[in-house]
Amino acid sequence: MKNDSRDGRRPNSERLPFDPAREAPLLSAYVDGELDADQVARVEAHLASHPETRHEVSRLRRLKEVTGAMKLLDAPDEEWETFWNNIYNRAERSLGWFALTLGAVLVGGYGLYLAVASLLSTSELPWFVKGGIFALCFGVFLLLVSLIRERIYVRKRTRYDEIKR
């Protein structure tokens, strides 16, 4: 971009006229003071000869005044006083749930293995009952593996994927 003047603005002859139909967002940016000198000059040149755009700018200013007079409430002070306790409690519970789940899987899995081995070794059971028990255990095992795989997949691939590390 060629800037010949001292204030960083291009000469009028080089400047494209502002097009309110295509470049309407520039009006918001103008109200917010977010345009560079060249863009300000383009918008102001347009405003000088277009009262309807001036009216639009004044409406945007009014909206900004109203929304600028509102704010999101802060949390109550007592919430902040317990904030750290809540974080540490949540961390402890998270660790607790992990340990509980791991223990349940290990102990439950071992118990299930013993029970199934004991049942299958009983010769008086009909063959279809043994088959049913085997299918049941295989299904539980498959569901468990599927659940673990999904958890690992979700942890790796979603929710926080777009975060730049």
Partner: protein, 218 residues
């Protein structure tokens, strides 16, 4: 735990545009922090990585109010915002060793809080307004009863209109108006071009204006 009605998340301050600069959440502007605070952030992150939990706590203390405002804006109620905030900071705690220290901290934090808040909103369908609420105002500059009525009505309408905005417009609007960020800072936080920020904010304003009605804007 106390619950706030969605419309009470917005507080009018007698419609004085001169006060707008003082109406941001927290006492420290995030725009200033992004410029000046990077070294402090890095110092605290390095403290944490060297085994001093105080570094993490200092980071949380510095950003928690802004993070709360982000979560509040996206979840729409205090309890969900607090839950999301705690989950987000736990996530920060786990992910901090992988944070690229040459990048600003706030955009990274913003994305974590944003995701936690959106997940929270999706997972928790809380009933709002069941708990009695209180009117929260600053002790100074009490408005007249009429002003209070008008302010309360407009505040409620504005919140309803904000909730109707598409997410991408809503978050740009909130980052600009309630967090006090500049366009380039919003662009960095959302990882989009400045032109996108500009067009989303403008679209949000046009929709808000339609939703509020011209008469509400005087």
């Amino acid at each position: 735990m106390r619950c706030l009605r969605p419309s009470d998340l917005l507080m009018s301050d007698n419609f004085s545009p001169n006060k707008a600069a003082s109406l941001r959440v927290g006492s420290t502007s995030p725009s200033r922090r992004l410029g000046d605070g990077h070294q402090a952030d890095i110092r605290d992150i390095e403290r944490f990585l060297s085994g001093d939990i105080g570094g993490f706590e200092a980071l949380v203390e510095r950003y928690r109010r802004q993070a709360y405002a982000i979560a509040l804006g996206l979840t729409g109620n205090h309890d969900d915002a607090m839950d999301a905030l705690q989950k987000a900071f736990l996530r920060v705690h786990r992910a901090l060793p992988r944070f690229h220290r040459e990048l600003p901290f706030f955009p990274w934090l913003y994305r974590i809080v944003r995701n936690a808040a959106l997940n929270q909103k999706r997972d928790e369908k809380r009933h709002r307004g069941e708990i009695p609420l209180e009117w929260v105002r600053k002790p100074d500059g009490q408005p007249s009863p009429l002003e209070q009525t008008v302010a309360g009505d407009l505040r409620e309408r504005l919140w309803i209109c904000l909730e109707e905005l598409p997410l991408e417009q809503r978050e740009v609007f909130m980052l600009y108006h309630f967090q006090g960020l500049k366009y380039r800072q919003i662009a960095a936080a959302l990882n989009v071009p400045i032109g996108t920020v500009m067009s989303r904010l403008h679209a949000a304003r046009l929709q808000l204006r339609r939703c509020l009605g011209e008469e509400a804007l005087g």
